[in-house]
């Protein structure tokens, strides 16, 4: 039998059969809940993790139209604009063809670091490397 922690007794503390205020089972239950919450967070809040911690994202006029893994080499277009071609190679992604006059999007080259962006201004299309949770993901890029 354990003594109450408080030295100054109250009416309640005179009751017999004191057990620890927090039982082992309570701790286990609490732990299980924390674990479940963590799993829920990883699987529901951040589903993009499924395609890797760092992945590519294409937006047309500010709307995300495609998320893609950087792990498999690939060349593709998007249905919203067949004049643009993208390539994924060695963990990096780039615009490789565009019908725009200045080709700044293609000149930007292959991007692989979280927070990097290439933009095709005339077509209002952006290619971004997203790194959810990467500690040095850039919030913006100066050029």
């Amino acid at each position: 039998m354990r003594q109450p922690l408080s030295a100054i007794e109250t009416g309640a503390s005179t009751a017999a059969n004191h057990r620890p205020f927090v039982h082992k089972k309570d701790i286990a239950l609490f732990g299980a809940l924390v674990f479940a919450a963590l799993l829920a967070y990883l699987f529901f809040v951040r589903p993009e993790r499924n395609i890797g911690a760092v992945y590519g994202q294409i937006a047309v006029d500010g709307r995300v139209v495609k998320n893609f893994a950087l792990t498999a080499d690939n060349i593709f277009s998007i249905e919203q604009n067949p004049h643009l071609r993208f390539e994924v190679k060695n963990g990096a992604a780039a615009f490789i063809a565009s019908d725009c006059p200045d080709k700044i999007c293609v000149r930007t080259g292959f991007l692989s670091r979280a927070g990097q962006t290439a933009v095709c201004l005339p077509n209002k299309v952006s290619l971004r490397i997203v790194g959810a949770g990467e500690p040095d993901e850039a919030d913006a890029a100066v050029r």
Partner: protein
């Protein structure tokens, strides 16, 4: 039995309190991002923390709408119904003063201040020269075979119409007047940062206290970021490609005060004539694209000054640029044509790479 109920209640209480504590540890503010097009001939990206996507969208729309107003006012290429903008001012050169919005007066006063403190290196009255280069560059990009340089005599003639003293600002009347016919304003070296500052200051007044606005590579930060972070990460794009065509960040800056980071380089906007690249930043003295550095990056708490100084430093030799930066309490990084790094002490303090082992 009574005791068990008490215990159960206590258990539930412990659980609820613990859960609340746990929730408090998970950042309640999330990071969101919005892209805007059709502003200042470039893309604009707003990043910020908000309690919900809807709240962020509302704030982002306010910022976008304000930027659009400012874009229309500062636009030199188009006129808009019921608005006197810089296009109107340019069209009225040598004819009559134009009644304009207070933001145009504000911008042009800064442009004049920038002209004075850079010894004329950054000249918003240089529209006549810049538009020549703009036209030849656009033509050269769409038809590379026939790309040509603006004729020297045309440039010389245009340069006679670039006197900042011919820009008359009448604050009492709220008018702007270019005295010389054929003269024109080009505020490309200041308008984006000035507008970002106006839009973000107003947003901050309305409670949007954690935001980062990137207009075409000019980044203005309002701190702090939320979500338990002490600073924003601002990447500085490498002007050079790797051998495999990759583009990296040269550096990451850790920004924990209200500041604008402005870059000037010639590796994106340029055209090629006879195998030689010609950039878009024109030296008012030589009337040709600057070729002293590969890139400069400038940090200053005043957005318009960061933007002005990044252009000035791109046009000035390193020692003169360093002096100008120091006089104005600006921090800067220069990437020389050989790829060497030169930077101020304050730059190294926020840099992940400079001066680090």
């Amino acid at each position: 039995m009574k005791k068990n109920i008490f215990k159960t209640c206590a258990g539930i209480l412990v659980f609820v309190v613990s859960s609340l504590c746990l929730c408090a540890c998970v950042p309640s503010e999330q990071k969101y991002r919005a892209e805007f097009y059709g502003l200042f001939d470039t893309e604009a990206v707003l990043t910020g923390y908000a309690e919900s996507e809807a709240a962020f969208a509302r704030r982002a729309e306010n910022v976008r709408a304000r930027l659009e107003e400012l874009h229309r006012l500062f636009d030199i290429y188009h006129s808009y119904e019921n608005v006197n903008n810089l296009y109107t001012v340019n069209e009225s050169a040598g004819k009559s003063p134009v009644k304009v919005d207070g933001e145009i007066i504000g911008l042009l006063k800064r442009a004049r201040e920038g002209y004075e403190l850079t010894g004329g290196k950054v000249n918003a009255a240089m529209g006549a020269v810049l538009s020549l280069w703009h036209d030849y560059r656009s033509a050269g990009i769409s038809d590379p075979e026939n790309a040509a340089l603006p004729p020297a005599d045309a440039l010389a003639a245009a340069s006679r119409l670039t006197d900042m003293n011919d820009l008359m600002i009448d604050e009492a009347e709220g008018t702007v007047f270019l005295r010389e016919p054929g003269m024109s304003l080009d505020v490309g070296a200041i308008a984006k940062a000035y507008a970002a500052d106006v839009a973000l200051s107003e947003a901050r007044g309305a409670g949007f206290v954690s935001a980062l606005l990137n207009i075409g590579g000019n980044v203005t930060a309002v701190v702090p970021p939320e979500g338990g972070r002490a600073s924003w990460n601002v990447g500085v794009q490498d002007p050079a490609l790797t051998v495999t065509g990759g583009r990296n960040f040269l550096d990451i800056l850790s920004v924990s005060e209200n500041i604008t980071v402005s870059g000037s380089g010639a590796y994106e906007r340029f055209y090629t004539v006879n195998g030689q690249n010609y950039g878009h930043i024109i030296d008012p003295e030589t009337l040709s694209p600057a070729r002293l550095h590969r890139q400069v990056t400038v940090l200053h708490k005043d957005a318009w000054l960061a933007d002005t100084l990044s252009t000035a430093l791109f046009l000035l030799p390193y020692d003169e640029g360093l002096k100008l930066a120091e006089e104005n309490n600006a921090q800067a990084l220069w990437i020389t044509l050989d790829g060497e790094w030169l930077y101020t002490e304050g730059y190294a303090r926020v840099s992940k790479e400079a001066g680090k082992p």
